[in-house]
């Protein structure tokens, strides 16, 4: 069972539908016990970094997620969910994240339109089972105004180009992040989720 952390983030249904298509059982939850009993965790997210961390803290889930991550359980962060993995975000302030990965989150340069909204290509930085069967430069759907920086270079699996290099797929051990929305990226996105499912099983 996949535990999708339901901390009030916008459109979670689409993610569930995508997992249904892959015959992956999932449950929306904020219950620490359900999260601990799950096989893997997905941290979704749209909205503001601070609100999300406040919600996660308020639900008493910060420790739970940190402990599960440290225990080796596969965790996938999508969009803001990925950003929450990092140490710090400078989104309208200076906020502490879950600290599962080294790096921080800051606003995309305003030399380009912000939010970064629409279909953009992924450039592979290294071979990874997530990209099995996918060529370079596949299009996926991005919607975000902030991006991860100062990350550990060998955690970068794929990036896109938007006002500079934007980390698109990151992975370190059991922690995986996708800055785009695989559940909204058509067949490519479904294939990425399928690869992820195979990788962690």
């Amino acid at each position: 069972m996949i535990a999708i952390i339901d901390y009030g983030a916008g459109n979670i249904k689409s993610l569930q539908f995508a997992l249904d298509k892959l015959n992956k059982k999932s449950v929306l939850t904020t219950d620490p016990q359900v999260i601990r009993d799950s096989d893997s965790i997905i941290l979704p997210g749209v909205g503001a970094f601070k609100d999300a961390m406040d919600a996660i803290n308020g639900l008493g889930l910060t420790k739970v997620l940190q402990q599960e991550a440290a225990g080796g359980k596969p965790i996938l962060g999508i969009c803001l969910g990925m950003q929450l993995f990092y140490e710090k975000s400078y989104e309208d302030g200076d906020w502490e994240g879950l600290g599962l990965l080294k790096g921080n989150v800051s606003k995309i340069k305003d030399t380009v339109k912000v939010p970064h909204m629409g279909w953009n290509t992924i450039t592979k930085h290294k071979e990874n089972p997530l990209m099995n069967g996918l060529p370079n430069d596949v299009y996926v759907y991005f919607v975000h105004s902030y991006a991860v920086g100062s990350l550990e270079e060998d955690s970068l699996v794929g990036s896109t180009q938007y006002g500079g290099v934007v980390p698109a797929i990151v992975q370190q051990g059991n922690i995986t992040g996708m800055q785009f929305h695989p559940e909204k990226s058509g067949d490519i996105g479904i294939k990425l989720l399928k690869n992820y499912g195979e990788m962690i099983s």
Binding site: F17, H116, S145, K184, I188
Partner: protein, 256 residues
């Protein structure tokens, strides 16, 4: 590189897709989920659903439509029509929509943009502007489905919308809507140069060239309804054409 987007728009009345000409003489077209699937397979980058009835009792039918679309297709879609409160926005996002388009309600209560952007993030708050040229190079914002002239300057309202927290603008040129004589290039261009958020051109698409021109003039996406509904323009062919015109578009879903 970020691709320019092609966005079919579906007006939904009591659970069915319809298409009006200048917002009147509405004609029934098809079931929303079927059309959505067809467009997805043809390579649409995004979809927009407008609930054009938006009376309270019919709202629930529409939420079912939203949920069924989310179930069937894995591309982003926006929902608009009758959105008046933060709670309305919450409902459509929870039903599976990615973005919400606000029109009249934002004019009546600009704070709605800010409140909802703070709660759900700017990226899912789309400000839709119905604009009509009332004097040479002067466009006013209209509300209530195009019946009410607010007297507000459309360009100023676009700027204000960005400041209030909208993450995207849809500029619907009422003069050209349904006429198939091309998008309003002047208005789209001015607004795209004025704001630093994505701008979607709407109203007037009739030929492939119309898409090409407006995307070259600065629009980040081009929205259309009837040319797609009636099969006058095929999205696959349109994207091939746009690529030949050196416009970056997402093409070809083959990966295995």
């Amino acid at each position: 590189m970020l691709a320019k987007r092609i966005v079919p728009c579906l007006d939904v009345d009591k659970g069915r897709v319809v298409k009006g000409k200048k917002f009147q003489n509405i004609r029934d077209v098809a079931a929303p989920v079927e059309l959505a699937k067809r467009y997805n397979e043809a390579g649409a980058d995004e979809l927009v659903f407008y609930d054009i009835t938006a009376s309270n009792e019919e709202r629930d039918i529409f939420l079912d439509v939203v949920e069924n679309v989310a179930k069937e297709i894995a591309i982003p879609f926006t929902v608009g029509g009758g959105i008046r409160t933060v709670e309305d926005i919450h409902k459509v996002l929870r039903s599976g929509a990615d973005k919400v388009s606000i029109n009249s309600a934002a004019v009546d209560n600009p704070q709605l943009i800010t409140d909802s952007a703070l709660k759900f993030g700017s990226q899912c708050i789309v400000l839709s502007i119905d604009a009509k040229e009332v004097a040479p190079k002067r466009w006013n914002v209209f509300t209530r489905g195009g019946r009410n002239d607010t007297g507000i300057d459309a360009i100023e309202w676009a700027k204000k919308g960005e400041q209030l927290g909208a993450g995207e603008l849809v500029i619907n040129a009422m003069d050209s809507d349904g006429e198939k004589n091309g998008y309003n290039l002047a208005l789209t261009k001015i607004i795209a140069e004025t704001v630093n958020i994505p701008v979607v051109a709407s109203g007037g698409a009739g030929t492939q060239e119309h898409f090409s021109t407006v995307l070259k003039e600065g629009a980040d996406a081009a929205l259309a309804a009837s040319v797609f509904h009636y099969g006058e323009i095929n999205i696959q062919q349109l994207k091939k054409y746009l690529q030949e015109e050196d416009i970056i578009v997402r093409r070809d879903n083959e990966w295995n």
